[in-house]
Subunit: 204 residues, 3 copies
């Protein structure tokens, strides 16, 4: 497996944990439920990616810092959420950053493990959206990825971009940064302008 | 892994994609949500099968046609569903064909990977029903496999049948065809005659 | 993989199957749905554990008795549940025993497969709670593990305990028995005294 850029990766983990913890707090779960959903949101995408590319045991289980960070982030959000309440928009924005980052590293990891480009792009998307999907299934929401906003498709665009840039020889750190920034921008603009994809024609 | 009969396999993929896309359209998801659910329904069972038998990365990620077909099928259904509306029964019927086909190839793949017969039968059933289960969990429905119709048990019957026929030496193409046809018939008859399995005694 | 203590392990399988079958009966599912949910509840945690530690194909698929026992247990519960109705408390109590047992063997299996201690503890917890999580997702309930009772954290405590006892050299059978008993006691006391973990501060 490609060694991830640790700090950036852990920022993504913490941000996704915060998104999961926020959803669990909104459901009035207790401290353990909040941490549980936070950890699933933070690590779910990466664990599924590792299962798909045969990186066994998954990275998160062999590096304790990947478990400690989302536990700490979820616990902090649990106790300080009133102060964080106004920061809801911030969490959405950070989630967009995490989505881009995880998509980029997930697609590159899959490619490095020998998965062909189309499959690697899909695995990149799964890495990016997997944790949020787990969070939504656990809390009984229709998954965010299915709601009327540009989400999965922003991730898929990022996965294609990062593989293209790698193919033309872009250095990894620059490639990941450019890709994460692109996904981030698409998400933020889509949210602020309420971009919506077409819905089924002919339904009243 | 056993090389699947490509055309038949892709028909199954397209049919399951159509079932997923139909469910997503009924939930008023947008074009990307419809494609997402369609792809999960088409590929979910096979991906879980490959994880269980150690075929890593899963077949769907190394053969782009397996991703292109459900995307195309879901997009076509999205734009033309009014015309397909009357074909709902047809989709159900095709779903029955896909169920039989995926069950048969899934059980044979597991057996070829060295899984004992009982386990291979269960893996065949998981291959057959897995995509529909993912579709139902994503769209917030009580899974089809749990509703009062002969579904999982038709698949399990097919898995046992295909392994038995393989054991007595039936050639693979004939075996898969006979098994898929048997599961198909059971499903179609169960639906048309509203066969129901017993429900718990003593509940008012 | 560590050879599990067969009888104890099958008791855990049967007990979890009973918990899944009970949930399915309460949802008025038919006989096949009841068996399906029972088998998922019984085997789900162990299958995910085996995927995570690379024990492919998972143990349950290579030992038919692991499939036969939950089918039989679910079918018995289906037909005799009125008599078992008063035993609901008993099922909860047995579920606590299964939770402790699966947590202990899951954590030891992960450690034996070379997973570091923190990851092995998490895998132990996943083994213990995984089946119940699948059961709750299938039947459309907010997962038990997220409700306001000491559940996942009792499992996590057990996982840490069993790894600590193994580290200081405790013989495996004694270690598993002590750990399972500890988790069991925590769960039973938490249920009888309605222990609850803190809920988010500041929410009216």
């Amino acid at each position: 497996m490609v060694a991830p850029s640790l700090v950036a990766d852990l920022v993504g983990v913490a941000v996704f944990a915060a998104s999961g913890a926020s959803a669990a707090i909104a459901k009035r779960l207790d401290i353990f439920g909040v941490i549980f959903v936070g950890v699933v949101a933070a690590l779910g995408g990466g664990i599924v990616r590792d299962l798909l590319i045969g990186a066994i045991p998954p990275f998160a289980f062999t590096h304790w810092i990947y478990i400690a960070v989302p536990i700490a982030a979820s616990a902090i959000l649990f106790y300080f959420h009133p102060q964080f309440g106004r920061l809801r928009r911030t969490v959405l924005v950070l989630d967009a950053a995490g989505l881009g980052l995880f998509t980029a590293t997930g697609a590159l990891s899959a490619r490095a493990a020998g998965v062909p480009a189309v499959g690697a792009a899909i695995i990149g998307m799964i890495t990016g959206i997997g944790g949020g999907l787990g969070r939504d299934l656990l809390t009984g929401e229709i998954p965010y990825v299915l709601r009327r906003e540009i989400y999965a498709v922003a991730s898929l665009f990022g996965a294609v971009l990062v593989l293209f840039l790698a193919w033309i020889g872009a250095p990894r750190p620059i490639n990941v940064a450019v890709t994460a920034a692109s996904v981030f921008l698409i998400r933020v603009v889509a949210m602020s302008r309420h971009w919506e994809a077409p819905t089924p024609p002919g339904l009243s």
